[in-house]
Amino acid sequence: MRYVTTIEDKTFVIEIKEGEIIVDGQAHAVDMRRIEPLSLYSLLIDNLSHETFIEEREGKYCVVLQGKLYTVQVQEERAWQQTVPPLTPLVAGGEISIKSPLPGLVLEVLVTAGQAVRAGEALLVLESMKMRTDLSSPYDGVVQEVHVAAHDQVTQGRTLVTIST
């Protein structure tokens, strides 16, 4: 069985045979076990011991290795050949919603509608877990609308500001 596995900007062709695994043409001895009841796995690759936590989310695998999170897409080789995705660059003239990454309290709003902002410029300040968090614009653009005011309590995912690019 051959798979095409994509992680970050890297792609591996991985072939799984009875008793061995071939990654980009290189054979490895592999042994993987789940440590129940967690989604924790012990993985020995050529006797090197690794521990990893894996969860499937929306068809992708979230792999935690040495404290870092990787998002991995695994496709059977045939399926993959049919679905090479086109690049989707950011369309100029689009509108972007800046959403609250956390539930919290809006401490300060730093921009007003109609104002031009640059990528990285702070839009507003949130407080969550007694800490201040600056929210910045990801792109150059113009503020279309500010949906919240200082002292508003906001939920996670709530749209705070919209920006046109």
Binding site: I14, L40, L65
Partner: protein, 499 residues
């Protein structure tokens, strides 16, 4: 006599206090807000009472509810922990009026030390060195004149301050008045008191503090020093005991001054005297924290003294069991605060559920944890998950042990500061002791690097799991009673390949 202690706190510090109460055979009462029903401290105590909804003002900060709960449960003492009401003189007073033992200093002392200007003045009058600065109640013109005398850069500080609120750094005279206005405004909003004062910035300063203990009979001792210079936004991240910057002579001198500070105000119970130490070995009194510190564990590790036990003994009216000469420090201890923050993303709070947790142990390692598997990190409280303390015969051994323990620590489901601490424990400046209070914030940038090798391992792991699931889905029904999962083996072992 103490019989039943209510712990007016949550998280790791509530558990830590309950542990010692249990060791001493005291009955214990926990309190909790709506979102903390399943928390460790609720399960750990003998009795647990709901005191309100999640926002602290309606639960952990509600003096009325706490006193009422103490009464209802039959507790005769309250331990405030740190944070929340720990340094609130009104709470200490309300306890006293309700006939409850408040495990901490007298309300008058809390009040005096809570006013940073008044505390400065008391110490200055007693001949204790303080950083050059002003009294309170000056008008803008007087402040401008004083600033000239103090010199720039300087600090505008709130009299009622704490946690960096109402604080501003001013680099030149041109910025002074606007900074004063902003600080006043912020202090007014945060503490209901806009009083500010000016203080000289001690360049290259290290944060050194001494643990003190005082009983009700005028006996006061210190339990050695701690260094807490690894900070970010005035929040301590790493603490150690002893402080590497002190030699024996300076340690002894500062220790004596710390005891003198405590004596000036008739201090009782546990407290901490904080100093700034400059590069030339001059030290300046900063403030007194009238409570148990987060970092008390490093002192416990080097002195062997259980500080909560001492707090309880003192509150019960007993004399200090230690004299100054009985206090001996052994080895070195370091504490890393593990918080639910993303160190790669400006320490942004990380909320969510802890789906996997493995805490280190073994020689020289202590974990004071406030969470459990399945715990949901909520936005209402501070982000401390647990404290990892490593002890070693030398500072070097403590650092190596800390590295080992950090590597063992597994917290799955949220981001934590573990990678920050790992990086710090590997930095030559930390290892060499070459840092001041600005180091962590200004000189220490964490870059997330994803190693090529790790990408490959993660790819293999995910592919094996996908393959396994695919085969599972295709296979017919698994024979019942066969415990498949525990023998969940995917591939042959080396013998199959190499022999």
């Amino acid at each position: 006599m103490l019989e039943k202690v209510l712990v007016a706190n949550r998280g790791e510090i509530a558990v830590r206090i309950l542990r010692t109460c249990r060791e001493l055979g005291l009955r214990t009462v926990a309190v909790y807000s709506d979102v903390d029903r399943s928390a460790l401290h609720v399960r750990y105590a003998d009795e647990s009472y709901l005191i309100g909804p999640a926002p602290p003002r309606e639960s952990y900060l509600s003096i009325t509810r706490l006193i009422e709960t103490a009464k209802r449960s039959g507790a005769n003492a309250i331990h405030p922990g740190y944070g929340f009401l720990a340094e609130n003189a009104d709470f200490a007073r309300a306890c006293r009026e309700a006939g409850l033992i408040f495990i901490g200093p007298r309300p008058e002392v809390i009040e005096l030390m809570g006013d940073k200007i008044a505390a400065r003045q008391v110490m200055q009058a007693a001949g204790i060195p303080v950083a050059p600065g002003t009294a309170s109640g000056l008008d803008d013109a007087e402040l401008e004149a004083a600033a000239q005398r103090i010199g720039y850069p300087l600090l505008v500080k709130a009299a009622a301050g704490g946690g960096g609120k109402g604080m501003r750094i001013v680099h030149s005279a041109a910025d002074l008045l606007s900074a004063i206005a902003a600080a006043r405004h912020e202090a007014e909003a945060a503490f209901g008191d806009g009083t500010i004062y000016l203080e000289r910035i001690i360049e290259g300063a290290r944060h050194i503090e001494f643990q003190i203990l005082g009983d009700h009979y005028g006996n006061i001792i210190h339990l050695g020093d701690r260094e807490c210079s690894i900070q970010r936004r005035y929040q301590k991240l790493v603490e150690e005991s002893p402080a590497i910057a002190l030699d024996d002579a300076l340690r002894q001198e500062m220790g004596q001054v710390a005891v003198q500070v405590a004596k000036e105000v008739g201090y009782t119970n546990a407290g901490t005297v904080e100093f700034l130490l400059d590069a030339q070995g001059n030290f300046y009194f900063m403030e007194v924290n009238t409570r148990l510190q987060v970092e008390h564990c490093v002192t416990e590790a080097v002195t062997g003294v259980d500080l909560v036990k001492e707090q309880l003994r003192i509150a019960a009216g007993r004399r200090l069991s230690l004299r100054q000469e009985d206090v001996r420090m052994r080895g070195w201890a370091i504490e890393c605060r593990i918080t639910a923050e993303d160190p790669y993303n400006n320490f942004r709070p990380s909320l969510g559920r802890i789906v996997g947790l493995y805490e280190p142990s073994g020689p020289g390692v202590r974990v004071d944890s406030g969470v459990h598997e399945g715990f949901e990190i909520s936005p209402y409280y501070d982000s401390l998950i647990g404290k990892l303390v490593a002890w070693g015969e030398t500072r070097g051994e403590a650092i190596l042990r800390m590295r080992r323990a950090l590597e063992e620590y597994r917290i799955i489901g949220i981001k934590t500061t573990i990678p920050f601490h790992q990086e710090l424990m590997n930095s030559t400046r930390f290892i060499g002791g070459q840092f001041d209070t600005t180091f962590a914030e200004e000189s220490f940038v964490l870059v997330e690097e994803k190693l090529e090798e790790h990408l490959k391992i993660a790819a293999i792991a995910a592919t094996l799991l996908a393959h396994h699931r695919r085969n599972q889905a295709r296979s017919t029904i698994t024979p019942a009673g066969q415990r498949r999962a525990s023998n969940w083996k995917m591939f042959g072992r080396w013998r199959m390949l190499r022999r």
